[in-house]
């Protein structure tokens, strides 16, 4: 039975049974009064007001309940609503700026030591990443780790945000008035700066000096090249490693920190790349004290004490020039001499020593070998080190002695970075006039009366001449964030010139750029680099410091005693401490020791064993009346009887990140010997790698000798096979899996271990691109760093699997854990291998990690529940878990501050999610870049071109060790490379477990002379 019909009133009134008969439902209908008609057609009778109230303001019960219900619901909703963050659209859209479309502007990074031509990636008006500028003939698209991280400094909340007089906030006008009234009567004025390679800045300084005649400009470098400059008559030679078949370095860390590492690394790597067509590579000898990045790449490395370095130079000189007897002899040196002699005009000897005598000999050796003009270029000298130690020391003495009226510190922080910093600290407050242009109230700036902070370089116009004849421009990529003023403009204003610095630079270039100036200028700004006649006058050659014979005489007598000390510069953190407040660089592992967050006393193992020191024991270092306390790090390869300490740590007033990290070694510059005492305290060192040897696991990383490679390139890589019924097969031939089909793209990457120098530039490139959190020292000690990309560093060991039979398995395994005293080093960049048979994908219970149709192993963050099963099952251990909420847990506010403040968050890449606590993350192969490349191509109705899509790591690699591309495109660089190297050097890490990675490594080839490494495998 259906429901009984329930006709509505409208029907019942409109459809009477007969027109003549009318039935009324009640007297009301009959009367048809207006009151009745009002309600006749509604379904329900009107509600009766049960409690009629005469007071219209009194709320009836129902209303009260309604209101209360609404109130409670509204309060509840309001309390759980997320705060509104407004994104306000442009009223008038600026030209070129499209929301979510990145713009790139060419600019230049120079921090007083490193020169890098960069492209600034701007999103919605803010710089978010720096990339190498491929137009630059010097850095050629490479970018150092320091430059990569520099974008973070722009948003550093520790920057001084306004002008200040005696620490009180002030205005530029007030400061100008006071300063200009004092400048005239200041007498001797000194401008102290690190090396300035900007011609326009120098012009501005000259203009200032013209206005105030007592002015002198003193440049000093925290890691000085004074000796090199002196030995070459005031000229810093340009070097070309690309043409050198034999490279001998006497303590020069030219791949890491010496003069122009990005440029040198590219040149060096060119000589190291091999293929079956080019079976040659340079041979690199390194004589050094501490294990540097360069030393770890050397074919032959000889640890020497600092006091012996002169003797080595002398012996080398004698060997080349056929001179007299030498106090130092070593078969490896003899071999180096014969190699150099065999490669006259195609070899290069460099030295990092600051001793003019050593540098004189090195110059003489290059001269004798005929290298000047081929690998050593004196005609287009490098400008990046102009500091003069003698002048600086004299100035410091003058300041201390009260003989200076006023000092302007232009980005210089000598209180921290000069050996006499302590004395300066006492003297600066006594100066009549002290001004700081530094970006923060640092150790020096805080002592000055006036602080006139400079713009950040990303907010500034500037020009550079890193090498004579090579010009470079910087353009602002963002409006100044704070009330700062460009330092050059400040100087010009004080000199009475009110022009803007932009016009000043532009006018300066009128003489340089020929033809149509406007077009040429626009092109120069667009390209960021230009070739041109030098803006600055050629450096005046000074008298040569000494002759080779004099130098020999000086060095013959040098003799060390006691425990010798070297202070050195870290690859990540510069010696001057400019980068100290940059958490990316603080957490960048040292390429060799893999230590982060702080410096340490690197000691050879022999010394640690003799003194019964364990890693992390705090040692008091005393030298020349100065002391610091540092934990011990046992460094294989450190010369016996020596210790070394990194500069740039121990800042007091760098900011939240950099303060009290490590200890300042600047006072120890120039101190040769120290005494060491154990304090009994222990301070763990935060290393990202604590097991240092490869344990003979050739399946992980492979290397072989050039001799074997020359014999047969097909026999340098061991390919594991597994036994099947059909005989031995490649592991990939046997599979239970149904393979994925890649119909469109199949992204892959090849990493040439021969050209990877381990510098760590890719690590920072990845970190900035992918918003990877910084976790701080304690969390690194807890082994929870978040880097998606890491560079594994393995030392060789004296023990090998071949010793099993003789010494027993257990003893051998134990011995294999110990690195050799002077080990060979191999670097292996390691990130998600994007396995085609990914073990992580099968074990995730919620399908948060899956395989893409283009071969990527992709991580869906918001699906992840965080079981960490994938990380356990990852054979490469590349997955990173968000143990904490790194962007809101107060524990990380200091180290990961850029994720906490609106200012800092401007640096985050809006294309990449900041991961929540409790989810797994890992390398995505920069899927956002792949997507962008595909979309750009699609808009133009074509396929992405090879090289159009580049991952952040591949982009930043100074040596082009990383090749990324589409493996399905037979014409791509990667396809050709893999085809060429198949069966030769190409191998997959852990091939036997058949996870089929999309990352291919190329076997490292060493060019060591066989007589020194008899155990070298025979092909």
């Amino acid at each position: 039975m259906g429901r009984a019909p329930w006709p509505c009133q409208r029907e019942s009134t409109q459809v009477p049974k007969s027109p003549t008969m009318k039935y009324w439902k009640g007297i009301e209908e009959l009367e048809n009064s207006p009151e009745f008609l009002q309600t006749a057609f509604s379904e329900f009778a009107p509600m009766k007001d049960l409690h009629p109230s005469s007071d219209p303001t009194a709320a009836p019960r129902r209303d009260f309940l309604k209101l209360m219900g609404f109130g409670v619901a509204a309060a509840a909703l309001a309390s759980c609503e997320a705060p509104v963050r407004k994104a306000i659209p442009y009223l008038n859209k600026p030209e070129e700026v499209d929301p979510s479309i990145a713009n790139f502007y060419a600019s230049t990074y120079f921090n007083g030591a490193d020169y890098n031509a960069v492209l600034v990636k701007n999103r919605d008006g803010r710089p978010i990443k720096l990339e190498g500028n491929p137009e630059s003939p010097i850095t050629r698209g490479g970018l150092s780790a320091r430059a990569q991280a520099a974008v973070l400094n722009l948003y550093d909340g520790g920057r001084l945000q306004h002008f200040a007089i005696k620490g009180q906030k002030s205005t530029p006008e007030a400061l100008d008035r006071e300063v200009m009234s004092k400048l005239g009567s200041a007498g001797r004025i000194a401008i102290v700066s690190p090396t300035i390679i900007s011609p326009s800045t120098k012009r501005a300084i000259a203009e200032f000096a013209n206005r105030y005649p007592g002015t002198s400009h003193v440049m000093y470098d925290a890691q000085s090249a004074s000796g090199l400059l002196q030995a070459n008559s005031g000229v810093l030679p340009s070097y070309n490693f690309e043409r050198a078949n034999v490279i001998v370095s006497l303590g020069a860390d030219f791949l890491g920190t010496w003069i122009s590492p990005v440029e040198f690394a590219r040149q060096y790597a060119t000589t190291r790349k091999v293929s079956s067509e080019k079976r040659t590579m340079s041979r690199h000898y390194q004589f050094e004290t501490a294990m540097s990045l360069t030393g770890s790449n050397a074919d032959v490395r000889v640890p020497v004490k600092p006091s012996e370095l002169g003797a080595v130079a002398a012996a080398l000189y004698n060997g080349i020039a056929g001179g007299g007897s030498s106090s130092y002899s070593n078969p490896k040196l003899t071999k180096a001499i014969s190699d150099l002699q065999a490669n006259r005009g195609a070899s290069l000897v460099v030295s990092g020593s600051n001793d003019p005598a050593v540098q004189t000999l090195v110059a003489a050796i290059n001269q004798t070998l005929g290298n000047v003009g081929t690998t050593v270029d004196l005609a287009a000298p490098s400008m990046v080190r102009q500091g003069d130690d003698a002048r600086m020391n004299a100035l410091v003495e003058d300041i201390i002695g009260g003989r200076i009226g006023g000092v302007i510190f232009y980005h210089a922080n000598p209180v921290f970075s000069h050996p006499m910093g302590e004395k300066l600290k006492a003297a600066i407050p006594k100066l009549g006039l002290s001004i700081s242009f530094n970006d923060r109230l640092d150790e020096t700036g805080s002592l000055c009366q006036y602080a006139a902070p400079d713009h950040h370089w990303l907010e500034s116009w500037n020009d550079f001449e890193p090498k004579r004849g090579f010009l470079s421009l910087a353009q602002p990529a963002i409006t100044p964030l704070f009330s700062t003023r460009q330092a050059q403009e400040t100087l010009l204003r004080w000199a009475g010139n009110n022009t803007t610095y932009y016009n000043y630079v532009r006018n300066g270039w009128r003489n340089v750029l020929g033809g149509n100036f406007n077009a040429a200028w626009d092109k120069a700004v667009h390209d960021g680099v230009a070739m041109g006649t030098a803006l600055a006058a050629a450096p005046a050659p000074s008298a040569a410091a000494m002759s080779a014979a004099e130098a020999l005489g000086q060095l013959g007598s040098a003799k060390g005693s006691g425990i010798e000390l070297t202070v050195y510069e870290k690859v990540g953190l510069g010696a001057a401490g400019f980068e100290s407040n940059n958490p990316f660089l603080q957490e960048l592992p040292d390429p060799v020791s893999k230590a982060t967050w702080g410096n340490y006393l690197a000691v050879p193992r022999k010394m640690a064993v003799e003194q019964k020191w364990e890693q992390g024991d705090v040692i008091k270092v005393t030298g020349n009346g100065k002391t610091i306390e540092l934990p011990v790090l046992i460094q294989p390869g450190q010369a016996n009887g020596t210790v070394s300490i990194a500069l740039g740590y121990g800042r007091e007033m760098a900011g939240k990140v950099g303060d009290k990290v490590g200890a300042n070694a600047a006072p120890f510059m120039g101190i040769a010997t120290v005494t060491l005492d154990k304090t009994g305290a222990n301070s763990p060192i935060a290393q990202t790698q604590t097991h240092h040897t490869i344990m003979d696991r050739s399946q992980v990383v492979q290397e072989n000798s050039l001799a074997n490679y020359i014999k047969d390139p097909k026999k340098v890589t061991e390919y594991e096979t597994i036994v099947t019924p059909d005989g031995a097969e490649k592991p990939s031939k046997v599979s239970l899996w149904q393979d994925y089909q890649y119909n469109n793209h199949h992204w892959g990457m090849a990493i040439d271990l021969n050209s990877c120098i381990g510098c760590g530039s890719c690590v920072i490139g990845c970190q900035t691109e992918n918003n990877v959190a910084v976790v701080g020292k304690q969390e690194v000690i807890n082994r929870r760093e978040m880097h998606w990309m890491r560079i594994d560093r393995y030392y060789s060991s004296d023990a090998h699997r071949t010793d099993f039979d003789e010494k027993g398995k257990l003893a051998t395994y134990a011995a294999m854990e110990d690195p050799s005293e002077n080990p060979q080093v191999i670097f292996q960049p390691m990130m998600c291998q994007h396995c085609n048979h990914a073990p992580c994908e099968t074990v995730c219970p919620v399908l948060a990690t899956t395989h893409s149709s283009e071969g990527l192993n992709q991580m869906t963050y918001n699906r992840c529940v965080g079981t960490r099963y994938c990380a356990n099952n990852c054979p490469y251990k590349v997955r990173r878990f968000n143990w904490f909420s790194y962007y809101s847990n107060e524990k990380f506010e200091n180290v990961n501050g850029h994720m906490f403040t609106d200012l800092g968050r401007m640096v985050l890449n809006p294309d990449v999610t900041v991961r929540a606590r409790g989810v797994m993350e890992k390398c995505s192969m920069c899927v956002q870049r792949i997507q962008l490349g595909k979309l750009e191509a699609k808009k133009q109705k074509r396929r992405p071109m090879d090289g159009e899509v580049v991952t952040a790591c591949a982009q930043s690699c100074p040596t082009e060790a990383i090749v990324f591309g589409d493996m399905r495109d037979p014409e791509s660089r990667i396809s050709k490379l893999l085809k060429r190297e198949d069966g030769e050097r190409a191998f997959h890490a852990l091939d036997t477990i058949n996870v089929q990675p999309n990352i291919t490594y190329l076997t490292k080839i060493r060019n060591a002379a066989s007589e020194f490494f008899p155990e070298e495998k025979e092909a």
Binding site: T690, R783, Y794, Y813, C864, R868, N872, V919, L990
Partner: protein, 487 residues
């Protein structure tokens, strides 16, 4: 259907009558909690507090509160999980497998063992949820319908199998345990004096009347549930072992794991049952129901499973050597001689050597020795899981990732916290539920042809057994036994 032997040893000593059984066992439920129980409960509550604090820290700040790191992604969490699941196994084995094999001696211990199973599984189930980075999303592992189309649970993942295994296991065990409790709840209900107790036990006993029909159904359901649970004894730990066995981690990727884990589970479960029963029988004066014979039998099972586990340990080493796989070999060499050698040594000593002492009759029948042994085995089995999980992970394929693991205070807090949770639940059970299955124990009072439950005419009876309550006088020795009478 019960075969009554002329020479069988008694399963319950002390010449108990049916009424004695009821009175002895109901006494704990009906009497005021004694001081020892109160103290034990206080301690358990304290550790439960530790548990809640540790869980709060974990949930509020994140898994970073634990000692895990980038290489060792599981350590105490999954160790504890496997350990607790393993402990649970004895209950199921006793209630299901021994029922099917008509091992009548199980009647005295099955209730407590099953309770232990359930509480252990509750403790175990804490870890898979707590170890998640985002436990509030835990329901995503269930294959629930959603609006995301193909986004579902991953049926390839052993963790998903775990979810099914553990939830099935828990529900079957709970039903089995509860069905067994129903007649006893009815007994307590009938004796209850207080209004709350009356209502509570009435509801718990589901209107049990004790009719012959009800008993018949009870027996049938028990048999069916026993049949259902028996495969679970094998399947649960098999599936848990697959978390490891299906991975690529050397030291985990081992086909021997399923039988090895099941044996280990029963081994540790019996150890835990022994630990608990030895305490309960003293605290609740149940020496007549849980006799030395029970203890000896359980010791034997422990020894057998312990030996199986020992063989498995050795087999792993043999296979590592035989495989000639570099990583596999190193994993085992590292296990025994690497930085965690002490964990491995503890495991071998506790699990392989100690159970062999049970060959000696004197050890088997010694209460203190058995107690110590059971604790040692519990420790050893915890170390077994720690060794498998941590020493395999901490030095895997890529030497640059090799690390050490050390637990944080929160790790320890959660572990002892689950012990607190377990004992809180167990003590509540022991106080409010009958710890021994009265109905079933009554069926085994008669153990030889001419021996039945008798009234001995006195209490105490020189057995050192002095119940704290009077045995009802005047009940004839040959009182007829009817099952539908809950006295």
């Amino acid at each position: 259907m019960q075969h009554i032997s002329a020479v069988r040893e008694p399963l319950v000593t002390g010449g108990k009558t049916y009424h004695d059984v009821t009175a002895d066992i109901c006494y704990q439920v009906e009497a005021k909690p004694n001081i020892r129980w109160m103290m034990a409960f206080g301690v358990a509550l304290f550790f439960l507090g530790v548990f809640f604090y540790s869980v709060y820290r974990t949930l509020w700040y994140g898994i970073g509160e634990w000692g895990l790191n980038k290489t060792v992604g599981w350590a105490w969490d999954i160790t504890n999980f496997v350990w607790w699941v393993g402990i649970g196994h004895a209950g199921t084995l006793i209630s299901a497998v021994l029922l099917l094999f008509r091992q009548k001696w199980r009647s005295s211990i099955n209730r407590a063992a099953e309770a232990m199973t359930i509480f252990a599984v509750i403790c175990a189930a804490m870890f898979p949820v707590l170890h998640m980075g985002r436990p509030w999303m835990a329901f995503w592992v269930l294959p629930l319908q959603n609006t995301y189309g193909s986004l579902w649970a991953n049926f390839n993942s052993p963790l998903l199998w775990d979810v099914f295994a553990i939830s099935t296991y828990f529900s079957v065990s709970l039903v089995f345990w509860y069905i067994g409790l129903v007649p006893d709840f009815a007994t307590i209900r009938d004796r209850a004096k207080g209004p709350i107790a009356k209502v509570a036990y009435s509801m718990l006993s589901l209107g049990w009347k004790g009719s012959a029909k009800a008993w018949s159904r009870y027996e049938t359901v028990s048999l069916i549930l026993a049949g259902v649970s028996t495969p679970l004894v094998l399947s649960v730990h098999t599936i848990v072992s697959m978390d490891f066995a299906t991975s690529v981690v050397p030291g985990w990727h081992t086909t021997i794991f399923p039988p090895y884990f099941v044996a280990g589970a029963i081994f540790s479960g019996f150890a835990m049952v022994l630990t608990l029963m030895l305490i309960t029988r003293v605290v609740f004066r149940l020496e007549d129901y849980i006799t030395l014979e029970h203890i000896a039998l359980m010791n034997k099972i422990m020894m057998i499973t312990g030996s199986i586990v020992g063989v498995a340990y050795i087999t792993e080493f043999f296979i590592a050597w035989y495989s000639q796989v570099e990583f596999e070999q190193y994993a085992f060499i590292n296990r025994a001689t690497g930085p965690y050698w002490w964990a491995y040594a503890s495991m071998m000593t506790c699990n392989v050597i100690t159970p062999q002492l049970v060959w000696f009759r004197r050890v088997r029948y010694s209460i203190p020795l058995t107690f110590i042994l059971s604790i040692i085995v519990n420790i050893g089995m915890w170390f077994e899981r720690f060794v498998i999980i941590v020493t395999s992970l901490h030095r895997e394929y890529i030497p640059s990732g090799w690390v050490m693991f050390s637990p944080s205070i929160i790790d320890i807090g959660i572990y002892v916290g689950t012990l607190g949770l377990f004992f809180t639940l167990f003590l509540l059970f022991a106080k409010f539920f009958p710890v021994i299955n009265m109905a079933e124990v009554k069926t085994i009072l008669k153990y030889t042809v001419d021996n039945g439950p008798t009234y001995t005419g006195g209490h105490g009876h020189g057995h050192g057994h002095a119940p704290a309550h009077p045995v009802t006088p005047g009940v004839p020795a040959s009182a007829p036994v009817t099952y539908n009478q809950h006295d």
